[in-house]
């Protein structure tokens, strides 16, 4: 059986589930959830089969791309637009990750959303999302990828705005959609440019695809009017799409706001899968990004402009977002900024180390970040929709499973040495950044980012799970008003929650996925250690060499040592500030706030980026639009009005002219005729005596004339 022909089934299954749910009537909750979970399970099974197929094709020196292409429609003269899907190691690992994490989150959602009145709609959107995301993964065509990419954006919009009655959620949905669309526009233009240069959008097509030798050589050799190679221009435009989707600076603003959506959505879309799509896109078009180094052996040492851009954007984002996370107090927003920061790390990995390095962190991060978000969801659920970490505390006692799994996730994210997956993947990124030939700065920024990561995660865990319980119940009834007042800082997620007296552990349907994810958060690291780099070898299609001795090599060991020190420093600092004595009560200032109030304020308000954008971009756009409106209302419409008034004035003038000038002669003439006629008519008044009188008179005159005439002769 050739799996490649049936690869389309994987996204189609969730799509079918979504369609069936959409058609079905409202109250069939069980039906919707069962259908969604069943379709995802099947998709997972097929993904695993795809992975085994990809594994069978391993070991030929290059990653092998099996493709299936077909014609979609006629595209201009004698051209056909072809679509297709591809099965290679990159697709295979992403497929398994997305369907596995997706399945766990689907299961978790049945518990988390159990109270929601729009349960079926939620599963419909969630299945639609999964379908689109799996479509992004298997696409062998930039256009097909873009199509699914847009559908992913649409479902993200629908799910962030799922509780659209919250103004903050509605605004966040709109913001997310428009911000990512800015990046998508660049991606679209890049795609248009790529097509007009290479004549195809297929990635791999037996040597004729746009990521293969022939097309790339053509793109590299051509230059644009401003002197850069066409390949660079296109790669940068495509990267802009990734910036938007993966929340990189400067388009990161939508991702933290997206936390207004339900927590499973945050876990699935805004932590594990969709935001990673940008990283995946860069990995997918890596031959283009890296050209010409990926193309010509002589240039192997040259780092392409596009990859430099990727690295720098990633480094800036990694550090920038980590600093903001330090000063946030909403449990989900801390995680959101952490996601932004970690996505920055992945970008660094892609830029300095290649596909395998970035993708390894993507996969491990997907597991432990989904774990953290679902843990946070469990906490929020247990605390009756409280999201402010300053109002929590001491939850360790009430929610032991959540605490244990959350701690594992936190240690993995911080990169706790040797045991946790995050350590191995982050360490590999730092190692490659250290040896980068262009600059050492990304390495330093990464190290500081790692320090901050360990610090803010420790801070969060101490706030949430240690100390006294500061939860004040009953306050949640008014939390919707607070949501409005605080601009969405906290949120009431479920409209109808029964208030019990204290925080409680979540049901098994929510904690079981946590435990599974916690297991993988630990173990996944071991498939990509320097001693046994199975993952990296698989992705790059190289021979697997297990070399335990590599762990002891100087470069690797020193970076590992440094990152260990950094992690311990971060955790230690966190403990010193937040763990030694009980965390202050919810109204008191944060310890950092006491030390540096101004810095804390700056970080808390996220460097005022939102305000600046609001003023510059949104305001400018609005003024522009108003100017256009004014132009339309007064100038164009005014011109029409003036022309019509002029016409009316001219008509008046015509009328006057007509009456006074043209008609004058006519009227005079008429007057004359009628006067004559009146006189004439007077003569003929029908009286016989008058006629006789006239006849008599005339006769007399005639006789007189005759007499006078005779005399004359």
């Amino acid at each position: 059986m050739s799996m490649i022909q049936y690869l389309w089934l994987i996204p189609t299954l969730p799509l079918l589930a979504a369609a069936l749910t959409a058609i079905a009537k409202q109250p069939q909750r069980r039906f919707a959830a069962t259908l969604a979970i069943a379709s995802m399970s099947l998709a997972l099974v097929l993904s695993c089969i795809a992975l085994t197929v990809a594994l069978q094709h391993w070991g030929h020196g290059e990653p092998e791309h099996q493709v299936y292409n077909f014609r979609w429609f006629q595209f201009g003269d004698n051209h056909w637009l072809e679509l297709g899907w591809v099965l290679d190691p990159l697709t295979a690992v992403m497929l398994v990750m997305v369907s596995f994490v997706g399945l766990l989150i689907f299961i978790y959602s049945t518990g988390y959303m159990a109270q929601d009145e729009n349960f079926t709609r939620f599963f419909c959107f969630l299945s639609l999302f999964a379908a689109a995301m799996l479509g992004v993964v298997i696409a062998n065509n930039l256009l097909l990828l873009f199509i699914c990419w847009e559908l992913v954006g649409l479902t993200s919009y629908l799910l962030i705005g799922f509780w659209y009655h919250k103004p903050a959620a509605a605004a966040a949905a709109k913001k997310a959609f428009i911000t990512t669309r800015i990046g998508d526009l660049a991606l679209l233009l890049g795609m248009v440019w790529l097509y007009s240069q290479s004549g195809t959008l297929l990635f791999y097509n037996g040597g004729k695809g746009c990521l293969e030798q022939t097309a790339l050589l053509k793109l590299v050799t051509q230059t644009t009017s401003i002197g850069v190679a066409v390949s660079t221009g296109i790669a940068l435009l495509i990267f802009c799409g990734a910036i938007g989707k993966s929340g990189q600076v400067p388009l990161h603003v939508w991702l933290p706001d997206a936390m207004e959506g339900p927590t499973p959505v945050s876990a699935l879309i805004h932590a594990a899968t969709m935001v990673a799509a940008g990283v995946f896109l860069v990995a997918r078009v890596y031959p283009l990004m890296g050209a010409p180094a990926t193309l010509v052996a002589d240039h192997a040492e040259v780092v392409s402009t596009a990859l430099r851009a990727v690295t720098w954007v990633g480094a800036i984002t990694a550090l920038f977002a980590a600093t903001i996370a330090v000063a946030q107090s909403d449990i989900k927003r801390i995680l959101a900024y952490s996601t932004v920061s970690q996505l920055g790390f992945m970008m660094i990995g892609l830029g300095v180390g290649g596909v395998a390095v970035g993708m390894f962190h993507l996969i491990t991060h997907a597991f432990f970040k989904a774990l953290l978000f679902m843990g946070a969801g469990s906490v929020i659920h247990g605390c009756h929709e409280e999201q402010d970490i300053r109002c929590m505390g001491g939850l360790r006692k009430f929610m032991p499973i959540t605490f244990a799994t959350y701690a594992i996730g936190m240690l993995a994210l911080s990169g706790f040495p040797l045991l946790f997956s995050g350590f191995w993947s982050k360490d590999e990124i730092l190692h490659h950044a250290h040896t980068w030939s262009v600059s050492h700065w990304p390495f330093y920024m990464g190290v500081v980012g790692a320090l901050l990561t360990a610090f803010y995660m420790t801070r969060q865990v101490f706030y949430v799970f240690f100390g006294n319980c500061r939860l004040t119940l009953g306050k949640t009834t008014t939390s919707e008003q607070r949501t409005v007042a605080h601009g969405g800082a906290t949120a009431k997620e479920h409209p109808h929650v029964e208030l019990s007296s204290e925080p409680h552990e979540s049901p098994l349907v929510m904690t079981a996925p946590l435990m599974v994810l916690a297991f993988f958060s630990v173990t996944l690291g071991f498939i990509g250690t320097p001693a046994w780099p199975w993952f990296q070898a698989f992705l790059e299609g190289k021979q697997l060499v297990s070399a335990p001795g590599k762990l002891m090599e100087g470069g690797i060991l020193s970076v590992m040592g440094l990152s260990t020190i950094v992690v311990f420093a971060g955790i230690g600092l966190g403990y010193w500030l937040y763990g030694r004595k009980p965390v202050p009560a919810s109204q008191q200032p944060d310890p950092i706030e006491r030390l540096w109030p101004d810095v804390f304020y700056l970080l808390k308000r996220k460097y005022f980026v939102d305000e600046i954008y609001d003023w510059a971009v949104v305001g400018l756009n609005r003024r522009w639009a108003q100017a256009c409106d004014w132009l339309d209302r007064w100038v164009w419409n005014g011109a029409v009005q003036i022309i019509s008034y002029l016409t009316v004035v001219l008509s008046w003038a015509n009328r006057v002219f007509d009456e006074k000038v043209v008609n004058l002669g006519f009227d005079e003439g008429c007057e004359g005729v009628s006067l004559g006629a009146r006189l004439m008519s007077k003569l003929q008044n029908g009286r016989i005596q008058n006629y006789l009188r006239t006849i008599g008179l005339a006769l007399a005159i005639l006789v007189l004339i005759l007499i006078w005439g005779c005399h004359a002769q």
Binding site: W72, F73, Q74, F75, G76, D77, H79, L143, F146, I147, C148, E150, L151, L154, G161, Y164, H165, P167, A170, K174, F177, I178, R181, I182, L185, L188, L189, V192, W193, Y195, S196, N621, R622, W624, A625, Q626, C628, D629, D632, W636, N637, V640, S644
Partner: protein, 509 residues
């Protein structure tokens, strides 16, 4: 087969007129049956046609002394637009099921308009085309002036005046071309070879004459007011097919007659614009961005859609100006796509919302909870918005992509600007969507919000409306998923227009 689309429509006019006065129901049913029969003929003709052929349907002398013929023919472009007209006609009748006031006359005018439109798309003789063109314009005035709303006399008059100024410009050029050629014929292909100086002045006159109706910036101001004033069905037709008449005229008449005048440089350049082609592509792009910008700040829901039409028609004009088969076929597909989507949007705003809420002011719609009260309208509008934003899976995506790629080859900078227009399109669509349907605020205290007291008492969405929505959405999705149905007809026809010699395989019927 195709010619019957015209005849059936006019037979329908007669049939509706002959019905007894008073009861609107028979008139509706006759009109609907007529439209369905017309659409059936269109589909029949479409199924029989071969891609790439230009079929002559009928060709008989009409006014022999002037060489005018009754000559109908159809190529891929005509076929697609005839199909669009059929769809729009059915949908328009479904969405005007609630017309009670003088229903007989309404549907008579409506069908006359449809018949005229069919005629324009099928005419091969320029004089005949012009006659049908005028025939389509006249009922439009009455539809708006009698059954319209908001400043209807003003809107109707503005629309009529604009149309007639346009037709006057067209007529002048047609007569000049006829006289200059001295061949006693109105056959397009024979008239096409005029001298260059003549082409240089004649092209803009006839192009603008047609493009006024296609909403070319800055001659677009009739469109928003006309749309707003028109009753639902008329605004659906206005955006759905009448604006396409203009674009079709530009493509079929202006660009075929005076190709050289379009391309040839003036010999000087103003601000980098040195030929009519560059000028009009610039105006098209300005229209795209400008229309979207203005839509972003409108308070009247229907004005938002009205300006969005200006923006989307900019893509059609931009596609025409690319002069490559990709851009041109994109433009034709965009005509089809916009016809369907704009029709649906106007139907939602005019019929589903305005006829029930009696306001189109977004600020007044905000507190009405329309997504709860009219869930079907809300869902339909979400889908229509997605289609209008050019999301994949809908026809707009394919056509705008083609126009963008075509434009990239011809004028890269302009296609970037057009892309910005798409972005603003997202912004105004989402704004309208959220304000009109999903703002779900706490009900404001009585007296503050004016006439929103009757919320919750709205009549539910009726069956004809549901059918109409499904019809239009279905058409957009089918074309979005499998555009080759239309493109295999459009592409050869566009190539033929570009090369100037139509492959004629006459199959008289």
């Amino acid at each position: 087969m195709l010619a019957w689309t015209i005849y059936i429509s006019f037979i329908g006019v007669l049939a509706v007129m002959l019905l007894p006065r008073g009861n609107p129901r028979p008139a509706r049913i006759v009109a609907l049956l007529t439209a369905i029969a017309g659409f059936g003929c269109a589909v029949g003709g479409f199924v029989q046609a071969q891609p790439g052929e230009k079929q002559t349907i009928v060709q008989v002398p009409w006014i022999p002394s002037l060489g005018i013929e009754y000559h109908l023919s159809a190529d891929g472009i005509s076929l697609v637009l005839v199909l669009l007209t059929g769809l729009a006609a059915i949908a328009g009748i479904l969405f005007s099921w609630n017309i009670e006031n003088r229903a007989k006359e309404f549907f008579a005018f409506y069908l006359a308009l449809i018949g005229g439109v069919y005629g324009v798309f099928l005419s091969a003789d320029l004089f005949l085309l012009f006659v049908f063109y005028e025939l389509a314009i006249i009922p439009k005035y009455f539809l708006i002036a009698i059954w319209g709303s908001t400043r209807k006399e003003y809107g109707a008059m503005k629309l009529a005046l604009y149309s007639f100024v346009g037709s006057a410009m067209v007529l002048i050029v047609l007569i000049t071309a006829y006289v200059n050629a001295g061949m006693k014929t109105f056959d397009l292909n024979i008239l096409a070879g005029a001298s260059l100086p003549h082409q240089i002045w004649a092209f803009p006159v006839i192009f603008i004459g047609f493009a006024i109706l296609a909403g070319l910036w800055p001659f677009h101001t009739w469109a928003p007011t006309g749309h707003v004033a028109a009753p639902t069905a008329a605004s659906m037709l206005l955006a759905g097919v009448v604006m396409k008449l203009g674009a079709y005229g530009c493509l079929r008449v202006a660009m075929t007659l005076y190709r050289q005048g379009l391309v040839e440089s003036w010999g000087f350049s103003v601000l980098g614009v040195g030929s009519w082609r560059e000028l009009f592509s610039l105006l098209a792009v300005i229209g795209i961005v400008y229309g979207a910008m203005v839509a972003l700040v409108q308070q009247d829901f229907k004005f938002v859609i009205g300006y969005s039409s200006v923006s989307h028609m900019g893509f059609v004009l931009l596609g025409l100006m690319t002069l490559n088969s990709l851009g041109l076929s994109g433009a034709v597909l965009q005509m089809f796509s916009h016809g369907i989507i704009a029709g649906l949007l106007f139907a939602i705003v005019g019929r589903m919302v305005y006829d029930r809420a009696h306001t189109r002011d977004l600020a007044q719609l905000q507190p009405m909870n329309l997504s709860r009260v009219l869930p079907f309208a809300a869902v339909t509008f979400i889908i229509a918005s997605a289609a209008s934003m050019g999301l994949p899976g809908f026809s707009g995506f394919v056509s705008e992509l083609q126009v963008l790629i075509g434009a990239w080859k011809a004028f890269p900078t302009l296609s970037v600007v057009a892309g910005v227009g798409i972005l603003v399109g997202v912004a105004y669509t989402l704004r309208a969507l959220q304000k009109a349907f999903f703002s779900d605020q706490e009900p404001a205290p009585a007296g503050v919000v004016g006439n929103s007291g009757h919320v919750g008492e709205l009549e539910p969405i009726s069956v004809p409306e549901r059918l109409g929505s499904i019809l239009l959405i279905g058409a957009s999705v089918v074309i979005g998923v499998y555009p080759d149905i239309l493109l295999k007809f459009i592409v050869p026809a566009c190539s033929a227009v570009l090369t100037g010699c139509s492959p004629t395989a006459g199959i008289p019927q």
